[in-house]
């Protein structure tokens, strides 16, 4: 299955960020309406940058791996909102090239052929977007 790339499966099987942050600044729940899968994000923020991000939840490999990868890249982003929008557009079929720090995101390129699973990949990203927009 070309969708389930090795990197992606690595993040799913051995997640680095799947835990909560007890003293997080912000918390946000997200739900995938097409299946009911849910995720909770925990964030520490500072000057519009995300200092630390983790997640807990129960979902398919795509959504869990996507969450783990999100947590791993967001900390380095100068402009997190831009990165998030880029990723959302990328999944929705736009031709976006990520800069060096974020090439890992290209593991989702295949998603464009699996439109039914887009909402899984997007769940953590839409949730962080909601979190940042609200706060």
């Amino acid at each position: 299955m070309s969708l389930y790339k090795e990197t992606l499966m690595k993040h799913f099987r051995n997640p680095e960020y799947k835990r909560d942050i007890p003293d997080s600044d912000f918390r946000k729940d997200g739900v995938n309406p097409s299946c009911g899968d849910s995720i909770t994000l925990y964030a520490k923020c500072d000057c519009n940058k995300v200092k630390d991000l983790t997640y807990t939840g129960n979902g398919c490999a795509i959504s869990m791996a996507s969450a783990d990868i999100l947590c791993s890249v967001i900390k380095d982003a100068e402009a997190p909102m831009e990165l998030i929008d880029d990723f959302i557009n990328f999944i929705n079929g736009e031709d976006i090239t990520f800069n060096d720090k974020f090439t890992v995101l290209e593991v989702f390129k295949e998603m464009q052929q699996y439109p039914a699973r887009k909402s899984c990949a997007l769940l953590p990203w839409k949730t962080i977007k909601a979190l940042l927009t609200e706060n």
């Binding site: 739900v31 309406p33 097409s34 299946c35 009911g36 699996y114 439109p115 039914a116």
Partner: protein, 402 residues
């Protein structure tokens, strides 16, 4: 009768297979004949796509759902609406109107408000409002007729600051008169009344461009515009659809439920579409819309109008006939002294299909001598030859009864 596509001349019978059955079909206002390609398209859905849409997580299901959603966009573009989320698929036009009455007006109308309808309405755009106003104890105002048409001056007086909604036909299924929608909408906007256009008849005979006319709601059925049975359309402004409380709950419109009782709905318009949808009908209606671009287009109206003028002239020549219509696709009349149902048997014996009776529009007949009419409704396949046959039949009827 022929039609032309890509330079080739085709027989009308190939476009509309029912024409091969030997009837003279003059009842298109009741339901239009279905083009072969639309019929085939509904079959194709079952043969090639088959699944129910909107639910499954599998790929074939997802792709099929996308195709159906593209047709929603096609429908919205067809009426000049640029947000397919404002198109709700229903069972028929009647269902669409009732949905506005029950899901929206019922929950939002203030006690001292009123509702305006007209005496020209089809039962489907009349009874729901009567019942609603009875249930809630609010006033319903019925715009009277003047020369068999809506009395617009009366309408201007009846619509006032307390009018919550004005619901009016875009084209009468009795007389064929096309309503002055611009005028009605401008009155409504001035007074703050919402406006619903029942486009069941209009949709097939006049281009509707929501960029130009701007009602709050517009409703129609697929089956009266060369589409299949079992499919209606409700257009509603998105900010108003948001205020809708569903009446029908169940599959398709619910996303999931947590803790047994916390219900999470899908987004609009799915939220208003409950149970397994008639995807085969939607698919077939997509083919209808393709066809409307190519073959059956607004130009055909000129042809229908000229045939209609010929019919009216011929009826006038026969004499002793009361005509309620101006030239257009629908011509209603009575043979003075002959009950429409008696006439009906004579048309039957000549294999002419037309309609007699109150046409589901009985308010029209209030205080009239007659309780029904003979209605001929013309389409692009009807011919002068057929009109001549109808006229001969009418002459026979007159001879027999008078």
């Amino acid at each position: 009768m022929f039609y032309i596509v890509k330079g080739y001349i085709n027989k009308m019978e190939n476009l509309f297979p029912f024409l091969k059955k030997g009837f003279i079909y003059m009842d298109s206002a009741a339901t239009s004949l279905k083009p072969q390609s639309v019929i085939d398209s509904e079959s194709d859905y079952y043969k090639n796509l088959a699944v129910n849409t909107g639910r499954g997580s599998n790929k074939h299901n997802y792709n099929t759902t996308q195709q159906i959603e593209k047709i929603r966009t096609q429908v919205s573009e067809f009426i000049g609406c640029n947000n397919s989320g404002e198109i709700v698929f229903t069972k028929n036009c009647t269902d669409s109107i009732n949905m506005v009455a029950n899901s929206y007006v019922r929950n939002n109308i203030p006690q001292n408000a009123n509702i305006v309808i007209t005496q020209l309405e089809h039962h489907s755009n009349y009874v729901p409002w009567l019942i609603l106003s009875r249930d809630l104890g609010i006033e319903s105002r019925i715009v009277p007729l003047k020369n068999y048409n809506i009395d617009y001056d009366a309408l201007e007086k009846l619509v006032d600051e307390k009018t919550f909604i004005t619901s009016i036909t875009g084209m009468s299924n009795v007389t064929g008169a096309i309503s002055d929608i611009e005028r009605v909408i401008s009155v409504c906007r001035k007074k703050g009344s919402k406006i619903l256009i029942d486009a069941a008849q209009l949709i097939c005979h006049k281009e509707i461009d929501l960029n130009k006319i701007d009602p709050d709601f517009l409703t129609f059925s697929a089956h009266k515009i060369y589409g299949p049975f079992g499919l209606g359309v409700l257009y509603g402004k998105s900010e108003l659809l948001k205020e809708f409380t569903p009446i029908n709950y169940g599959g398709n419109m619910v996303s999931y439920i947590t803790n047994k009782t916390e219900i999470h709905y899908k987004e609009l318009p799915a939220k208003l579409e409950s149970g397994t949808q008639n995807s085969a009908a939607i698919y077939a209606f997509g083919t209808t819309l393709d066809l409307l671009d190519k073959i059956i287009n607004i130009d055909n109206e000129n042809q229908i109008n000229s045939l209609s003028r010929y019919l009216i002239d011929s009826l006038e020549q026969v004499g002793g006939i009361t005509i309620y219509s101006k030239p257009g696709s629908i011509i209603s009349f009575n043979i003075d002294g002959v009950h429409p149902h008696d006439a009906s048997d004579f048309f039957d014996s000549e294999n002419i299909i037309l309609r007699t009776g109150n046409l589901c529009a009985s308010p029209f007949f209030t205080n009239m001598e007659v309780g029904g009419v003979i209605r001929i409704s013309l389409s692009i396949f009807n011919t002068r030859d057929e009109v001549d046959k109808v006229i001969k039949c009418i002459e026979r009827i007159k001879e027999f009864f008078l």
